[in-house]
Amino acid sequence: MEKPLTKNIPSNGDGPLLLAAYESAGGYESVRRALQTTPATITDLVTKAKLRGRGGAGFSTGMKWSFVPMGKDAPRPKYLLANADEMEPGTFKDRLLLEGDPHQLIEGMIVAAYAIQADIAYIFLRAEYTLAAKRLSRAIAEAYEKHYLGRNILGSGYSLEIYLHISAGRYMCGEETGLLNALEGKRANPRSKPPFPQVSGLWGKPTIVQNVETLCNLPHIVNNGPNWFQNLSHTADGGTKLYGASGKVKRPGLWELPMGTTIREILEEHAGGMRDGVKLRGLLPGGASTDFLTEQHLDVRMDFQEVQKAGSRLGTGTMIVLDDQTCPVGMVWNLERFFAQESCGWCTPCWSGLNWAERILRAMEEGRGQAGDLEKLEFQTKFNAPGHTFCALAPGAMEPLQSALKYFHADFEQHIREHRCPWR
């Protein structure tokens, strides 16, 4: 089984490959290839490969690029942004790519930037990823020295600057338009769309924002072609996927597997099943803002379509596992507290609604739950549904809540009836 994304990452905890070793392993080959062809050819390859964004939303990468104005009259400068603001609770996949193979990200960024003819690229990195910052800085410096970056890359006439921007911490920065505002030195509030960033993004110029894992796939697509990429996958969405599991499983961790691997295989084979003494009650398949799935969904394939059919989302592909000795109401309270705290306050349903939800859940956990609380929570899931807010933070926050109300209804009722949390 091929593992293009992680093949260079040392499993013994050693540092990442430096440039010379990375080149000997075939590194930067895709840049040479890309520079010898047209930007449109690269976009076409990526579209044919059916690469979908790995940050959570799963938008088609090739289609996203196709909205960028091209040609002589296109506004300049154009920007490519690598979203390395990994802050979705339960998600730790981009950390591995950033720390383990920083040159792969830079190579992918050059390919993407060339395809949209970007002039400037930023890596937007969360502040807590201090080791990644160190390794990325070194890799960027190395890439400049060998003329993979800067003016007239490898004599092609194409120029690209890459800067590392280290954030100061806020979940909203990972939202596409919040990230633009953060980079402009503002509060990371979302922007209304349209205009879409592809046309009017950073400082009003055409901008593409891509997740780290998405960008890391690009060198391999350019080198091996769309058919190869399609064949890596078990399903219609191309490629491999970094899957993870955390919670009370025997071996929490991260694995690069074919896209469409079943939840059962990830949980039982790779994560080693549940720890002794606890049983599975449910899981969030792709981070905090995805709906719960339960034991009946173990054979669901972890790809964009199948997880959606099961009533949730692939999200980031890193699952959070709930066991039978952990309180589901407490878990949802923890999630809603996070979302309420990280809400930027820009639109009312979110700042008001999430705080209400958080307070009701806290009251239940502290034995102060009341008749009517469940109806109020149900109302919030509708009040904060997609379309009522500027960005996806609040709708995402409602996903674990609405599904918990469905699957763990009896637990909520018990909290209210007994005026206590049975697990505390």
Binding site: A127, R170, G185, G247, I320
Partner: protein
């Protein structure tokens, strides 16, 4: 007054962005690196350099979790309280930490050695529960071994 060194570091950032305002977050962090936190006076001085009002700058400073507008201890302990760490027992870790240091979350020890703050998911969920001390990530933290861990930070 900003020191010459702070000023130079901030001005070095100007080349990476098309305007001064965009440097605000980097600049706040530069000041914090030198002084531990960002005072009202620092905001005023920085505002002049970036051509922003102190209010505008404070709006930015207070938005971000890791810009400190109050003094902090010599070492900042960030304890993850997000979902995977919660499942793996961060509540008891926090209690232990509070007991050991004699401060609650948000507080600074009386000797000025540690400030303890909650933090959102640190992206190391396979090693929950996690915390950071300054720039160092610590995973699989066992409450009974906190003593040993904190000993390294004087």
């Amino acid at each position: 007054m900003l020191t010459v060194e702070e000023r130079q570091e901030i001005e070095a950032e100007f080349s990476r962005y098309p305007n001064k305002r965009a440097v605000s977050i980097d600049a706040l962090k530069i000041i914090q690196r030198h002084r531990g936190w960002v005072s009202d006076e620092s905001l005023r001085d920085l505002g002049k350099l970036l051509e922003m009002t102190p209010d505008e700058l404070d709006g930015v400073a207070t938005f971000y979790n890791l810009v400190f507008r109050k003094p902090v201890g010599r070492h900042v302990v960030l304890v993850c309280d997000s979902v995977s760490c919660w499942i793996m027992g961060c509540e008891s870790l926090c209690k232990r930490l509070a007991m050991q240091l004699g401060v609650s979350l948000g507080g600074t020890t009386s000797d000025g050695r540690f400030t303890v703050l909650p933090i959102v998911c640190l992206g190391a969920c396979d090693h929950a529960p996690t915390l950071m001390v300054d720039n160092d990530l610590h995973g699989d933290v066992q409450p009974e071994k906190l003593d040993e861990l904190l000993e390294r930070y004087k």
